[in-house]
Symmetry: C2
Subunit: 355 residues, 2 copies
């Protein structure tokens, strides 16, 4: 027997080789591994012994997935580089929620970035389903190809769109609520710090032209909510949801003592924390001379003693909803779109304006 096994070194052993050595057919060997069909204990044992002898590690996943039509892999497409996505606690919470639900069907999580150049990966990977995080399913070419492939697609906060299931968030209504809170406190001169407008992620003042061409659903909805209350608010767009970006934006909006807003609405907590940092550097008291609101409800280390006024969104829940929807779709069901609601949290970073 060990002679026989030696003839198989070099190339990886196959199920056929194992079957041959065990003296059974391919089908029986296959059943012995999958545990699906009825195989006698003696036969199974013979097959497993042959596998051990040949150093066979089990059926090749590639062949199995061609045959069964399933790869056991669910793709997650993010818009930015891996490094940036992983710095955003909201994105991590989403991934966490997704992976919790996918664990149920034992699927792996394939991280794909859609930064333009690497679009090939999106089309060439064997995936059973795909979750889009913050991508615009309507516009994107590589995503169009996925839709054509007909695999289940779920978009978290994407543009609602025909064949893509959307997990939504009340971005506009929630931001409007925060803006109204500032209005009610007496603020009239309010500035905005926005998330990126599109995949290009250009930092700078938000001009009407750029605003007209914004394609990021989340950014545009939160912007609309703020504009519902403060239509003419000055705005500055950050390169991403990072504290440093908030600080840069804060300085851009606050450095000139003659043109300072009394409040700033930031589209994320990290941006808000950065704005507060900029205010500290400029010796502007928060909330005495500047009110700040965020969005997300994530814990920002080092913000203490500030308790940020913000909109708490259920990020892990959203991820779980996306994961659960994928599981249902793979099961042939057609789940309904889901909308999530944020909760307004009144912290100690907002107060009536001092002037």
């Amino acid at each position: 027997m060990s002679d026989e096994s030696r003839t198989h070194t070099g190339a990886r052993p196959t199920l056929a080789a194992v079957a041959q050595l065990a003296g059974v057919s391919n089908s029986t060997a296959s059943l012995a591994f999958s545990g699906t069909g009825p195989v006698s204990d003696a036969t199974r044992e013979r097959v497993l012994a042959a596998a051990r002898e040949l150093n066979y590690a089990g059926p090749d996943p590639r062949a199995r997935s061609l045959r069964t039509g399933r790869s056991g892999i669910v793709g997650v497409v993010i818009e930015e580089h891996v490094r940036d996505a992983f710095r955003d606690p909201i994105k991590i919470a989403l991934l966490d929620g997704i992976s919790q639900e996918l664990a149920v069907i034992d699927a792996g999580l394939l991280i794909l970035t859609d930064t333009g150049e690497a679009a090939g990966r999106i089309q060439d990977a064997s995936m059973d389903a795909v979750v889009l995080i913050g991508c615009s399913p309507r516009l994107d070419e590589s995503i169009a190809a996925l839709r054509q492939r007909g695999i289940p697609l779920v978009a978290i906060e994407g543009d609602p769109s025909g064949d893509v299931l959307t997990i939504g968030q009340d971005n506009r209504e929630a931001t409007r609520l925060a803006a109204q809170h500032l209005w009610d406190l007496g603020h009239r001169d309010v500035a905005l710090v926005t998330l990126p407008l599109d995949r290009d992620r250009i930092r700078g003042p938000l001009t009407p032209e750029r605003e007209a061409h914004g394609s990021s659903n989340t950014t545009m909805e939160r912007l609309a909510g703020a504009r519902d209350v403060f239509p003419d608010a000055v705005a500055f767009t950050a390169r991403g949801s990072f504290v440093e970006e908030g600080t840069i934006a804060g300085h851009a909006l606050l450095d000139d003592p003659n043109h300072r807003p009394t409040a700033i609405i930031a589209q994320s907590d990290l941006l808000a924390a950065g704005v507060i940092r900029a205010a500290e550097e400029l010796e502007i008291a928060v909330p005495g001379d500047l009110s700040v609101v965020g969005f997300d409800g994530v814990r920002v280390d080092g913000l203490w003693p500030y308790d940020l006024t913000t909109l708490v969104q259920p990020a892990v829940e959203k991820g779980r909803a996306a994961g659960a929807a994928i599981v249902e779709m793979l099961d042939g069901e057609a789940p309904e779109p889901i909308g999530f609601t944020s909760e307004f949290h009144t912290g100690n970073t907002t107060a009536p304006p001092s002037r």
Copy 2:
């Protein structure tokens, strides 16, 4: 022609259907898509037109990967849950570095957790290669199966082991350096806060028994380095590299005013930040009454005005080295193991003991 296309609705179109509609052979249609072989422009155009007509989105990745033997997917196995891994800046830096290099070969990143129950995924996923982060390749069963499969394996800070390429770190020497720094300052009563000892991640005082059975390479090496200078140091093991865990450990080591160390060596910066937080809560001055050193050299938000004395490790570089090694191995080369060195950074959290 549109009648012909209609007959294909329902099932996904295949390359064969496209070839038939275009009036060419399978091989020619395949070449038209891959762009590999010589195909006349006219023929290619006819194939692509047929594909458009049938709504064919390109060759099925599953079939292609069975045929070519490559899936374009590289697995990354982490030991903990997704959520925990993504909270650790070092792990994110490693992933970032890996993904930078994998972008070169346009490979996707499949995140797999090795928390015990989900081990099936590790064996069943089609991957061209695997990077192990902080797993012990020697002990783990699911990883043994990967080795048997014969795909390239790279371990970051794993136990050096036969057929697994190791990307190392001078954990022991570096920690010894930090311990010596404390010794030179005059500290004799030093306590340790360690990372988890094994996959079970149990929090609590480090007993000799538990220490004897520790399996996490990184933890054990850093522990050995500290013991080189302070053989009898009391130690407390955290559940993971988080600020809160450091705070818990800090309280465990500092709450009793009669048995307080004059210095604490934490095995990560996040743990060190937590220890400092605990000290603040107990009104113990750092570095006046307590010196604290960390490991990693990551920016911890909210630590200011402290500048942590720590060992700066090149995490992104390590990730890149792992990614580059994978690329080489997939190319048939046999790269050498690499060892990385940490740099000692003297901050303002260490000083001579006050007693």
